[in-house]
């Protein structure tokens, strides 16, 4: 008898509430056991952040020559060392840097870079090569290989990015746990769920729809019940990005069994009058990060948290005719955490004497090496199983 026949014949199942047993698989972490439960917060600066005006090679003549109107002057920046300095709007990041809680990795990218937002975002999110089209994301494959429940990877957004979609499992997107909970408890939806027996679900499409529905139902419950335990008292900027990070902090401190959090800040596509838009966005970013880290520190969770910030590509070294920059390739990324093995400037800054034929920075560190390091050294899982290939690991953690 196949599942359809079974469902058809199983009128006896009506009225039975299966959900409680389904919820048995859920684990809350006891607040006392929170210590040591490592997690990663991944932040995409969407649109292609200009890394050269974020972490600035302020002593470099070529930088100033190629950017006559938009280059940052020495007294506008926050010096990190004799060569590199932070954008002046990133005061909070400077403090993290000074505390040994931030690593800057330069020249991160991949071979044959693609300069389309969509394509390059897909490449970063799927951890593919530039000639490879994958339909699963790297966080999703992490879920496939290591996790039981969708909420082990949460995206703080209303829709789920490709990064969090695995073949068998997908993460869950949520901005407002209460709203998600309420929408799944709507009478009609609830009734269908409560009269569904998860044991009957096989892998055909109908079964898959029901399985996703039940998982959403129970994850919504889990996230809501859990995250309301703790609501942070820390003050955050009133930006939507600030609110996102506050939401993530609530989840981390509440002890959700979530390993990966994903969120993004958009608007970095600075072709025109870059200075206005980028400086403002970096301020939004830096201030929110500052509050987030303080909040985690106050709750003793910072040592178990790693914050990876990347953008789908950097921008061309030479400015364009509109006081902006066009799409480039390799870029710097930052890793922030309370337990870094190597803080500071991880490797040499960009070599502006040796640009590629488009005038872009050449990559030195494959971004998948960064992922491999996080998977293996931080989350202690098999990185090759997730990334499908072996990549050299770095030692920032």
């Amino acid at each position: 008898m196949d599942r359809r026949d079974f469902i058809r014949n199983s009128a006896f199942a009506s009225g039975m509430l299966f959900v409680p047993s389904f919820l048995k698989g859920m684990e809350f972490i006891d607040v006392n056991q929170l210590s040591g439960f490592k997690n990663v917060v991944i932040i995409q600066l969407s649109g292609g952040n200009d890394g050269l005006n974020t972490i600035i090679p302020y002593k470099n003549d070529i930088y100033h020559k190629l950017r006559p109107t938009i280059a940052k002057k020495e007294n506008d920046i926050l010096k990190l060392n004799d060569e590199l300095g932070l954008n002046g709007n990133c005061q909070a990041l400077k403090e993290l840097y000074d505390n040994g809680e931030m690593t800057v990795i330069n020249n991160v990218g991949y071979p044959n870079p693609n300069r389309s937002h969509f394509r390059s975002t897909d490449i970063w999110q799927t951890a593919s090569g530039s000639n490879e089209y994958l339909k699963t994301g790297w966080v999703g494959r992490y879920l496939d290989a290591n996790c039981q429940n969708p909420y082990e990877a949460i995206e703080h957004d209303s829709s789920l990015s490709l990064a969090l979609k695995g073949k068998l499992k997908k993460g869950i997107a949520v901005t407002d746990p209460k709203q998600l909970f309420q929408s799944t408890r709507e009478k009609y939806f609830k009734s269908i769920v409560e009269h569904t027996s998860p044991e009957l679900l096989d892998e055909d499409n109908q079964g898959y729809l029901y399985k996703t529905m039940l998982e959403t139902y129970s994850s919504a419950d889990y996230i809501y019940e859990r995250s309301k335990i703790y609501e942070t008292s820390g003050t955050y900027p009133t930006t939507s990005f600030g609110k996102n990070l506050k939401g993530v902090a609530d989840m981390i401190v509440s002890g959700l069994k979530t390993r990966m959090y994903y969120t993004s800040l958009g608007g970095f596509d600075s072709h025109v009058n870059q200075e206005m838009s980028q400086d403002r966005l970096l301020k939004v970013y830096s201030e929110a990060i500052g509050s987030f880290v303080n909040d985690l520190k106050k709750n003793d969770r910072f040592k178990d948290t790693l914050i990876l910030t990347f953008s789908e590509f950097g921008r061309r070294v030479k400015e364009n005719g509109s006081k902006g920059t066009d799409h480039g390739s390799a870029n710097n990324i930052t890793v922030i955490g309370g337990d870094l093995r190597q803080a500071g400037i991880y490797n040499n800054g960009p070599n502006l004497l040796d640009l590629d034929k488009n005038g872009d920075i050449r990559y030195e560190v494959d971004f998948r090496s960064v992922y491999a390091t996080i998977l293996n050294n931080w989350l202690e899982v098999d990185d090759q199983q997730v990334l499908n290939h072996s990549f050299d690991r770095l030692n920032f953690v």
């Binding site: 969509f118 829709s159 959403t216």
Partner: protein, 463 residues
């Protein structure tokens, strides 16, 4: 043999976008052959999709920086107009089979470029050949400005080859990944495609000076090949017929079929010089197509779901832009495929967010629901920044009420509204116990409320 109502609906879901109650009644007692003939008959005459883009036909080089900005905005807006125009056409046309096949090739030849003119041109090439020759379609698509610009054939010049198109024409458009060809074949093919370009007016040109006239060895054949020769050779390969057949079988049937069926379909397709109508009618006529296991086994793509509801209830959208938002949230916006490999399919459409939205869709569209305006995705950059600013200030999510007006009178006139008949009509697969109990316990009275309930079942996602 007479088909059941469910089987007729199956034909119209898979080879169209569903069927209304009145038309279904009129087809009562039809045989398989009659239905297939009818589907083809209705789609017989090719008519291009028409939209006026005269305002975009200007020489961009003449424009000042400010004017260029205005032009880009106009272009973006026109892309949305185009996307909605096709959606509207899918919803209203009688040529459902043709549009369904155009939709297949829109994904097969996935192109994402900014020019509405080039996009529409490509779309009409596909439409023209949708029930004709795949060989001619492949040749014309390859030479369209849309494809030449998207896969960089314009930059593919003698001594400076760009392999983008050469790779994808084999991997995605004809042979299928890692079948028959090697990396050397890609390099040799790229040389043959040098010189392919287009004029400002959007006409294909062969630039002799940029063409590599030397001898090439491609798939074991040697000669001074041009791009036309490469495409001709790709069509000589039986693997091309096979790859297309497998893909079309998956599109129309949606589950594994016997290798005998695939062999038969693909050799038939090859023998009939890649006649797509032979391919499609061959698949629709198989026993596997009409088997019980095939009915309701596929997950609707977002477009099929949206067009299906819109067609059935004759929904009039007072603010059609909401359709762009919904399509985007469900991850399928016409004319904006994610990349050259096209959209996902099946289970790939479903995650917790998209499923919740799909299940709420009927109450949104049939009962003036509210949708959260989402600025993520392919917003032009400045718009995005503005949106972010706006959000910072207001602190509130942007929500909009959907102004969609279904034609209830029309629907009511043609449907027998007893509960179980309505379920039977709206839902293709057998419904689960949870769904059955929920419907039984419901005290909804009106046709509208019951429609919304039934369309909110997970089963409505299947066809």
């Amino acid at each position: 043999m007479q088909l059941t109502k469910k089987q007729i609906q199956h034909f119209y879901w898979r080879a169209g976008f569903g069927i209304g109650p009145k038309e279904l009644d009129s087809l009562k007692g039809s045989t398989k052959t009659e239905i297939i003939d009818r589907l083809f008959k209705k789609s017989e005459v090719f008519q291009p999709l028409v939209l006026d883009f005269e305002h975009l036909k200007i020489d961009k080089k003449e424009l000042s920086r400010e004017e260029k900005k205005v032009f880009r905005k106009l272009q973006n807006k026109s892309m949305f107009d185009l996307s909605l125009h096709w959606f509207n056409h899918m919803t209203n046309t009688e040529q459902v089979l043709r549009e369904k096949i155009v939709f297949f090739f829109h994904d097969h030849f996935a192109v994402r470029i900014k020019s509405p003119i080039a996009n529409l041109h490509l779309n009409n090439i596909i439409r023209k050949h949708a029930l004709g020759s795949f060989g001619e379609m492949l040749m014309e698509v390859s030479k369209s400005p849309a494809m030449i610009s998207f896969l960089n054939n314009k930059q593919n010049k003698k001594d400076r080859p760009n392999e983008n198109f050469a790779r994808e024409v084999m991997e995605l458009f004809s042979l299928g990944r890692d079948n028959v060809y090697t990396e050397t074949d890609i390099k040799e093919a790229a040389r043959a495609f040098t010189g392919w370009s287009y004029t400002q007016e959007g006409k294909f040109v062969f630039k002799q000076k940029q063409h590599d006239t030397g001898s090439k060895t491609f798939l074991g054949r040697t000669g001074n090949f041009t791009g036309d020769d490469i495409i001709r050779i790709l069509l000589e390969e039986k693997q091309t017929a096979r790859y297309l057949s497998e893909k079309m079988i998956d599109y129309l049937i949606g589950r594994k079929v016997s290798s005998t069926t695939t062999d038969m379909i693909s050799s038939f397709f090859y023998k009939h010089q890649y006649d797509i109508s032979v391919l499609v009618s061959g698949i629709l006529a198989t026993n596997e197509f009409i088997a019980d296991e095939s009915i309701g086994c596929k997950i609707k793509s977002p477009i099929e779901l949206l067009v299906g509801i819109s067609r059935l209830y004759n929904i009039e959208y007072k603010e059609p832009k909401v359709l762009i938002q919904i399509q985007r949230k469900l991850n399928q916006l016409l004319f904006f495929p994610p990349n050259v490999a096209g959209w996902t399919s099946g289970k790939g459409w479903i995650d917790s967010s998209t499923l919740m939205l799909r299940l709420q869709l009927s109450s949104m569209l049939l009962n003036f629901g509210v949708i959260e305006w989402d600025e993520k995705g392919d917003m032009p950059e400045q718009e995005l920044i503005k949106a972010e600013k706006r959000r910072d200030k207001t602190q509130a999510k942007i929500e909009k009420r959907i102004k969609a007006y279904p034609d209830w009178n029309h629907f009511e006139k043609n449907i027998v509204s007893e509960e179980n008949r309505l379920v039977e009509f709206l839902i293709q697969p057998d419904i689960s116990n949870g769904a059955r109990v929920t419907l039984e316990n419901s005290d909804s009275q009106t046709l509208k409320d019951r429609s919304i309930e039934i369309l909110s079942l997970p089963e409505y996602q299947l066809y």
